[in-house]
Amino acid sequence: MKIAQDAEMRMLDQMAADFAAKELVEAREDHDRYPFLPLFEDVLAKAHEVGFFTLLLPEAAGGGEQGISALSLILDDICRSDASLGGIIFTTALAHEMILKAKSEALLPPVASGDHSYREALIACPSFDNPGEAGNLLQAKGKGKKHMLSGSIEYVVLAGLCGRALLPAKVEGDESYSLFLVDLTSPGVEVSEPVFSLGLHACPACDLELKGVEATLVGRQGEGRAYFDAAVDKMFLAAAAMATGIMKGSFTEAFEYSLQRHQGGWEIINWSEVRMLLASLAIKCKVADMLLSEACRAAEADEAGWGLGARAAAIHVQELACDATTDGIQLLGGNGYMEDYGQEKRFRDAKQIQSLLGLTPMKRLDYIRRIREGEKPW
């Protein structure tokens, strides 16, 4: 990624790329067969050891105190090989970011890798939702910090993997929702089997049923939307980084294949329509990389309007990734459709992550709402 320019970023870049090459490539097909094969727990433990799950947390909370550029860089590298791990890193980072925005670091679990397992470091949350759009939310009753939550909530990512979840719920009479931290081992919590989904198979989500479950309010009551909105601009960049990584992986595999596979008497790269498809894919990768790098730079510099730029980057890059990975399969022909190669997984994963943080059309409408409310479009 273009943002990997200083020594520390280059080191992170190399570390993430090495990790992906060593831990993710070879067993990708087996990892992706979860829940029908075991989860790649050894990989998760190693990812925790190198600090992937605590990147955004302050050092005082046991984190890496990294910025969005570092998170994006790592997600880009990881998702080239297997976006499932990217989804786990993303979901936990989203939960952390919302907790940080609520100034509730004190609620974070202890995370140091030597003393605590990766499961303790993770926090589940409905990372594919914008709770503000949802028709039905969990109901919360109570006062002060302790509330009792009831109701059902679908697709809470990582709920089957870890002990805590950050969940949106509405206190009766409030206009907007609040955020609560819930111990998933509490009585009254029913966690479904992993929801089998299109992509990110090894980043499982579960449906939850809560019956009077004790929960801790995060930040102030009724301010959940504000924390989500404050966290989400940064996380849009992380989502764009995942899409960028998937695209780059798709291009690399397609390019290498085109140099080896023969058709009509020579390597398929010699056919100009193949080169056109490759060029289209490469250009999408380049555009995504430049867009993401610039959006990260603006975010790190806290430039005016960077949030809108982050959203534009995510919406655009995620759409590019869906198109690019479709061509990525096409370039491998029948082989691209088979699980033995990485392309079909990238196609599924790209479409899956397009739904991160809410419905895509609603993200577009929200974008124009912000401009209408006075944010400068450029």
């Binding site: 697709y155 299109l198 029948g334």
Partner: protein
Amino acid sequence: MKGDGAMGPNRSKALLEREPRFDDMAVSLLAMPRLPKAMVKETKQAVELARRFNDTVVRPYALELDRKKHEDPDFLPWEFVEEANRWGLYTLCIPTLFGGQGVNFPALSYVLEELGSACTGMSNLVGVHYLGVATLCASWNMRLMNKVMRDTAEGEKTGEPCLISLAITEPGAGTDVEEVDLVSKAQVACQAKKVKGGYVVNGRKIFISNGHLSYWHMLVCYEDLKNPQDTVIMLAIHNGMKGFSFGRQERKMGQKGCPASELIFEDCFVPDDLVCINPAQGKKLKRSMKETHMQVIDYIVAASRAGVGAFGVGVARGAYEEALRFAGETEVDGKLLINHEWAQCMLAEMYKNVAVGRLTYEEANYANDLLGMFKVLEWKPIFYYLKYMPKPIMDKVIQPFLNLGAVTWLFRKIYFDWQKETDYQCSSGWGSLSKFTATDIGVKNGQLALEMMGRAGLRHDRGAEKHLRDSKLLQIYEGTNQLNRLNLFKCLIGRDVPGARVFEE
């Protein structure tokens, strides 16, 4: 009609033959008056049957089968195939002449769309059998057509399904084997060597849809691997032949219910009476073996690509129907999704995609009715003769004639020697147009449905994500959509452009 009074018949003809040729752009208009009216009733009944089959068999089992294949990639859906056999789906479009029900072939596309709207994998479990049928028919070997298709009819009676597959793709050659200009330079490796009394076959075929589930396999291989375009040979292989075995099932992203099989041939002896067509037979035809080879391919793909178009429309419709259902029952931002203007426009776009895709496979089928594989069967006298001839007379009096060499000779005269170049250009061109248009639409609607549904659409138990996974294969098999664009160029564009060459970069 008013106009230029000086226009003579020659000038008039020349104007209509100018590109785009009137005969290519108004295929349905030309075909409709020539087609039997009874096709409409037959087609309605076939769609009704497909909808009942969907309600009873496909929808209750589609997600379960898909999940089962995720869990156990080697699972084979025999239960479904036996059910489809009981419902008569494998003989539905086999002509009565060969013991089938004789429903017109274009009706099959509507059936495949219906089944595909519920599950494209299961639609393939039915449709791919007819790819085998079409391949067999493209040899116009009436004796073998009678033998093999009557086995399917017999299998329906006994409850032991007898499906037919097409085995053409090889590990080193996919797109190449669908174009003679490419196959001449392809890395083909499946060879049939002439020996006394037959052929000995060695090699492997891969990605063979329904391979493990079929009894007969139409094997396309080559006598001389250095000269495949002139030495193509089609053999009818059946299970149990010595030297023939099944290899692995591929692990596909979608259409999981329909196995993609590896077929292995190790010194497999195939007797002469199972040769559908070979270069020796080709020598008796007007054109060279290379040209006949392309004619055979064009007959098959002109029909089968319309069928793939129907799969594309089916999957596009399935995705649209899931999105519509979701929009009607889900509240977003305080109101039902279906009452958001953007959602209404998105649904209209998806509906349009389905309708446009359907028009393409219909037009491709009209081309086949008029100029391609179906032209004899849908000629009114033959159509009604076959439809109303009592079955015992068909089976006992007419059928033995099919074993006469003269009948094969006559059909090869009609279908090979008398076929004009513009005939197969039109039907093959429209087949390709339908294939890539409708399958691109299938993928597009799959993507739009998931955009509309968000994370709900990602769940396997909602069914929408399966449509997207299933749709992608359609852009690849029966020739990639890139190859089909090139075939359209070759058939309908490049022929009239001096200096235009295809597959010669």
